[in-house]
């Protein structure tokens, strides 16, 4: 296994059937890897939003709300929707767990893709992470 980055149109990625021989195939593979990285960043944001919902179900103020309260400088009414439903919390937590497993698997897949040492794939991962971060993180504070 070559231990340095190379520019090449031939690579085998992750699975036996995913073997690339041509520039078109390489472009398509880079696109798929890019979308995978975008998915990874969105999963992170999705997990955070689910956690926020779970905490609101328990009416535990999150750190974001504490900072907002401190900035407002008023201890006025707490207008959080208090819905103490254990089932909703459990569903939130289970959803977070599934997203966590997906995040672990997608993260490892991206690591293995970079391990192919193909420079185009590496660019795809880096660009995809950037695009994913750009698109997903503003959705974090949109509660």
């Amino acid at each position: 296994m070559a231990m340095h980055f190379i520019f090449s149109d031939e690579v085998v990625l992750l699975f036996d059937f995913w073997s690339v021989h041509s520039p078109t195939g390489m472009a398509l593979s880079v696109l798929v890897i890019l979308l995978l990285a975008v998915l990874y960043e969105s999963i992170k944001v999705g997990k955070a939003r689910l956690l926020h919902q779970a905490l609101m179900n328990l009416s535990i103020p999150t750190s974001q709300q504490l900072i907002e309260e401190a900035d407002q400088d008023s201890s006025s009414s707490d207008s959080l929707p208090v819905s103490r439903s254990p089932l909703r919390w459990f569903l939130c937590h289970f959803g977070q767990t599934l997203l966590h497993v997906a995040q672990v698997v997608v993260g490892y897949f991206m690591m293995l893709a970079v391990m192919s040492y193909n420079t185009w794939i590496f660019f795809g991962v880096v660009l995809g992470s950037g695009v994913g971060y750009y698109l997903a993180y503003p959705l974090l504070s949109m509660t």
Binding site: M1, V12, L14, F15, D16, W18, K44, V45, A48, L51, H52, L55, I60, T62, S63, Q64, A70, H93, F94, Q96, T97, L98, H100, V101, V104, V105, G107, Y108, M111, L112, M115, S116, L140
Partner: protein, 183 residues
């Protein structure tokens, strides 16, 4: 260390003993490329795991390795949550830094930053450092296990991470950790 293979090349004495016996009569280049699988596979024969003495050869050994990797991934998630909890408990001081910034109409506004910190030589920080080292080592071990490309072991890592997250993360209060990438 050096096993004597019936290979044609006499200068192959530095080759490590682990190889796939199916390509014994080819050039050494093919040997080098097939030593580390680069695609996912399901199997339990001749699977080297992390250390040189640790080779899986039977289904029973694979089952044992599955359980061990599962528990390691679970422990890793628990360690992350434990570190978070310890950090919250040991937050000692809150420092306020105020600095003047120019306002909209030429006025001067005071901008106040609030930082929470730990002392460097305190016991909680030393404990966090030790736990951090353990966390880094375990996370690299899990990465190397996933890098064996063995389907059973990869499923063990993912399932262990999921179960650990499910069991330990129920009292997580920090909403998002921007620095978290692979872990």
């Amino acid at each position: 260390m050096g096993m004597n293979m019936d290979m044609s090349g006499g200068d192959n004495s530095t080759m490590p003993p682990h190889h796939h016996p199916t390509t014994s009569s080819d050039h050494s280049h093919d040997h080098m490329m097939m030593m580390m699988p680069m695609t996912f596979y399901f199997g339990f024969k001749d699977v080297e795991l992390l250390f040189s003495g640790l080779v899986i050869n039977t289904a029973g050994e694979m089952a044992g390795a599955f359980v061990a990797v599962f528990l390691l991934a679970m422990f890793y998630e628990g360690l992350k949550i434990a570190r978070e909890g310890l950090l919250r408990k040991s937050q000692v001081s809150i420092r306020y830094n105020s600095m003047p910034v120019p306002g909209p109409n030429g006025t001067i506004l005071m901008e106040t930053h609030k930082t929470v910190g730990q002392q460097m030589l305190s016991f909680p920080h030393l404990l966090q450092t030790v736990l951090h080292i353990i966390q880094v080592v375990i996370s690299y071990f899990l990465m190397l296990i996933f890098m064996t490309y063995n389907g059973y072991l990869c499923i063990a890592v993912a399932a262990g991470a999921g179960t650990g997250y499910f069991l330990f993360s129920w009292k997580k209060a920090v909403v998002v950790d921007i620095t978290e990438h692979c872990h």
